[in-house]
């Protein structure tokens, strides 16, 4: 079986699966169960200087698909609501009892150098193998000048990162908030501040639903609700993009990435690693299904690697990165056309109506004498958009076939119809 050991910012882990700083890593009892289930590491629930925060009830709202499967959770929870020394003692005990597992300490504080440094040092003394700065919490804490209040201002990201670097001799992970316009701005600030790695994403500002009887957002606390932080598989696409943006920025090439956001299965994890992440963190999937899901994450990732001939994670880490490009670098001469396999078609008509109403009117229906329907693609109208293939309920029925047009690759900047096209002479590489 493939070797799943990984190393992120100098922290060695038996596998790339860590629990993100959140309720699953709130107490010794949880983390111990997680380690027993096979998780490689845990980023402890965020701590700060005492007194601890107080939480409200209820705390969670969910967004479901029409089968009732939870796509995302929204929460209004704050950070650890237990005294700092209780957290520190439990971390110390676990470090002793589970020497082969990773514990990263997560902290936040107001903009006070003393506070940041003091908590960082206490965590280091408890034995954590790295420190994560929580600059992302998008509710409650930001109203007190912490979390995303710091994470949304580049200079403060740099400053707090530097404070922690100065305070401890441990790998430093700066955890970024996605509630910004350009993820590269805080990533570059973290890099300047001396971060060894960035962890992303934290939760996204959201109102998950409105209770139409009580006329208030869910979760409703007494009569009102607040926006919360959104996470779970629904946020994975956003996280993938942000991770890719950082991974392919040459200025950040020595900044490692601990990827977070919607990771639920082994293939989700593999995708983040393929984009360049060194390891991954999981919160919602564990909250929904329990720690046992790590079993299939480990098993499935190992089997995938065996099938592909990857011995270690490094063998495929970042392999997809070079294939993430700007739109301007796409080959405009590449063409595909949909092809419907009539033998496996169940005649549902989904492809036709999708194309007819909202795409390019390229799917024809012929009705036979017996009432059976035959769906075919008119190549002249098909623009190769892929919509029909996505809505088709039969796997493999609609295939996108490459058109062998013999044309050389051509990008928009080089395109003859581009009014801003640079002179071909000056474009040459």
């Amino acid at each position: 079986m493939a070797d799943l050991h990984c190393n992120i910012a100098g922290v060695a882990s038996i596998n790339p699966f860590w629990l993100a700083s959140a309720p699953p890593t709130d107490k010794k009892i949880n983390v111990e169960r997680a380690f027993r289930a096979g998780w490689g590491g845990a980023v402890w629930k965020t701590v700060t200087v005492d007194p601890p925060v107080i939480n409200v009830a209820s705390r969670y709202g969910v967004h479901k698909d029409h089968h009732g499967t939870i796509l995302g959770i929204n929460n209004n929870e704050l950070i650890s609501d237990r005294p700092l020394d209780v957290n520190l003692r439990e971390i110390e005990e676990l470090r002793r009892e589970w020497p082969d597992r990773v514990i990263i300490g997560s902290l936040m504080a107001v903009l006070d150098e003393q506070a940041w440094k003091e908590v960082a040092i206490k965590l280091a003394n408890a034995g954590v193998q790295g420190i994560e700065l929580n600059l992302g919490c998008p509710h409650g804490m930001c109203e007190r000048g912490m979390g995303s209040a710091i994470g949304q201002v580049a200079e403060l990201v740099e400053k707090t990162t530097r404070w922690v670097r100065e305070a401890v001799d441990l790998p430093v992970f700066t955890k970024l908030t996605p509630n910004i316009t350009d993820i590269l701005v805080p990533a570059e600030a973290a890099h300047k501040g001396g971060a060894h790695a960035v962890s992303l994403i934290n939760t996204i500002n959201s109102i998950v639903s409105v209770d139409l009887q009580r006329m208030a957002p869910r979760p409703t606390v007494d009569t009102a609700g607040t926006h919360g932080g959104y996470c779970g598989s629904a946020v994975k696409p956003i996280a993938l993009n942000m991770v890719a943006e950082i991974a392919r920025d040459p200025a950040l090439k020595d900044l490692e990435i601990s990827a977070i956001g919607g990771i639920t299965t082994w293939s989700d994890a593999a995708e983040f690693i393929a984009l360049g992440a060194s390891g991954v963190q999981v919160c919602t999937a564990a909250m929904l299904y329990g720690f046992r899901i790590v079993d299939d994450m480990i098993d499935g990732l190992g089997r995938f690697m065996d099938q592909q001939g990857y011995r270690t994670l490094d063998d495929f880490r970042g392999k997809a990165r070079a294939h993430v490009v700007d739109w301007n670098a796409l080959n405009m001469n590449f063409d595909v056309k949909a092809h419907i396999d009539t033998a496996s078609c169940i005649e549902c008509g989904r492809c036709h109506i999708a194309c007819e109403d909202t795409a390019h009117q390229a799917i024809r229906i012929e009705t036979g004498d017996d009432g059976s329907r035959r769906f075919t693609v008119d190549d002249a109208e098909c623009v190769g958009c892929n919509l029909c293939q996505h809505v088709c309920p039969v796997a493999g029925c609609i295939e996108m076939r490459v058109v062998e047009n013999g044309l050389p690759p051509l990008t928009w900047p080089e395109h003859p119809l581009n009014p801003l096209r640079a002179d071909p002479q000056t474009v040459s590489v």
């Binding site: 299965t265 082994w266 293939s267 329990g290 299939d296 098993d299 499935g300 039969v394």
Partner: protein
């Protein structure tokens, strides 16, 4: 949806092609899309009721989750971890009274997740993939074990013992291994020579030598085995068919159902097996249903299953009774055969109508006659005790302690030949697995003394 056979109408026989169709898969296998859709119905229960209803305790939510994540090989390994004959069990288990009967989705949707079919989907992927055997062996223990009987119990024991580092010799009286997987399960449950493919897969672990045509009490003897091996595991099943003990049982056209089924199982061209036009099956268990169904598959125009007690007492599950009825098999309950009549060949069976009087079966005095040109007797199997002298009995079976040890130290037993759980393939597999683990623990403890 239950299987519907092509049936024969009075006088007209079935074509070999119809017969072959009738013997095709009872439940056609799921393809990848159907398996993914079915897997998505699973609620991924914790400490799931289905798991506890499975005698081998397969982690069912775990393997279904793996099918949903497109990790079918991981799912298969998880199944085989607990049940090395997960492939046969997926095909043959009466899931309606085991895992699927316990599935909580029955309560929310009125029908369970198709656990058996998902299990088959996963295990078939693994068996079809040209991959190395998925289990390794512990360092060689230097110990040797003998297994008598290569049915599910014996092979499950052998596989687990090999995994634990022991070398195993398996002695089997019949020419082929597999026990009732090969000679007893209904043809339409085990298409495409699955029993032999599974045996080959199981032996792929190494360390197991199969000696077929070797019968205990004739070619090999308990005393010798006890002397030569560190442990002996008896997995003899229930060899002999019980008799009816009514006049006329010796007439031609009267035979035991198991013999009929095993002939069918061994025949490549099923249409070569003779069947009557009016078949009467006597018995109320799964074997009776299987025999009746398979007679119908062959084209018998009329098949009646006669059972001496009521429908509630029948060993066959409700699902199997429905399957039989759906396929035109008449089920007559409260009917006790009293004589089989005919001139050389069977022509009719005479029955007494029965009832329960104070909980005991009694004849009402009424009788009736069913015309028949073939009678299949399925009134249970009895243990053959040849070669087992000196072992304590438990009713008609072998006595064992909690660790599967018989009254003779070092001799263990499991499967149908002991009294534990139901006489089902899955229980036999569990017995074999557990017995191997216990034997291993005992030997290792002894080694330390």
């Amino acid at each position: 949806m239950s299987k519907q056979l092509v049936v024969s109408h009075a006088g007209a026989g079935l074509s070999p092609c119809d017969i072959a169709d009738n013997f095709a898969d009872l439940h056609p296998p799921l393809d990848r899309g159907a398996a993914a859709a079915e897997a998505s119905r699973c609620l991924y229960c914790y400490d799931a009721p289905c798991m506890n209803a499975c005698p081998t305790h397969i982690d069912i939510p775990g393997f279904i989750h793996q099918i949903a994540t497109d990790n079918a090989l991981g799912a298969a390994q998880r199944i085989l971890n607990e049940n090395i004959m997960g492939g046969t069990c997926a095909r043959a288990c009466p899931t309606e009274i085991l895992c699927e009967g316990a599935c909580v989705v029955n309560k929310t949707e009125g029908a369970p997740v198709k656990i058996g079919q998902l299990q088959r989907f996963a295990v078939d992927r693994l068996l079809d993939a040209p991959s190395p055997h998925p289990f390794g062996r512990a360092p060689a223990s230097g110990r040797r074990m003998a297994v008598v009987g290569a049915g599910p119990a014996g092979l499950s024991f052998a596989h687990r013992a090999a995994m634990l580092g022991h070398d195993v010799d398996v002695y089997e009286a019949r020419p082929k291994a597999g026990g009732l997987n090969e000679y007893g399960l209904a043809t339409y449950k085990m298409v495409d020579d699955f029993a032999q493919r599974e045996v080959a897969f199981l032996l792929g672990i190494g360390g197991i030598a199969l000696h077929s045509g070797k019968m205990l009490g004739r070619d090999i003897h308990l005393d010798d085995l006890a002397r030569e091996y560190d442990a002996v595991f008896l997995a003899l099943g229930l060899g002999g068919a019980a008799r009816l003990d009514v006049p006329g049982e010796e007439l031609s056209g009267v035979g035991d159902a198991l013999g009929f089924i095993s002939r069918l199982r061994q025949e490549a061209d099923k249409s070569a097996v003779a069947v009557g036009g009016q078949v009467v099956v006597i018995g109320g268990g799964n074997t009776a249903i299987d025999a009746a169904m398979q007679a119908r598959c062959l084209g018998a125009a009329s098949v009646t299953l006669a059972y001496r007690r009521g429908p509630e007492q029948m060993g066959a599950t409700a699902w199997e009774q429905d399957l039989a009825r759906l396929n035109g098999i008449a089920i007559r309950t409260w009917a006790q055969p009293v004589a089989i009549e005919g001139d050389g060949h069977v022509e009719r069976v005479r029955f007494a109508v029965t009832e329960l009087v104070d909980g005991r079966l009694a004849a009402t005095g009424e009788t009736f006659v069913l015309p028949a040109d073939q009678v299949l007797v399925a009134v249970g199997q009895q243990m053959v005790r040849t070669g087992l002298d000196g072992l304590r009995a438990d009713g008609a079976k072998l006595w064992v302690d909690d660790d599967y040890q018989t009254s003779r130290p070092g001799i263990f037993a499991g499967g149908d030949c002991i009294r534990r759980g139901d006489d089902l393939t899955v229980q036999a597999v569990e017995d074999g697995k557990q017995a191997a683990v216990r034997v291993d623990a005992r030997l290792r403890a002894k080694g330390r003394d």
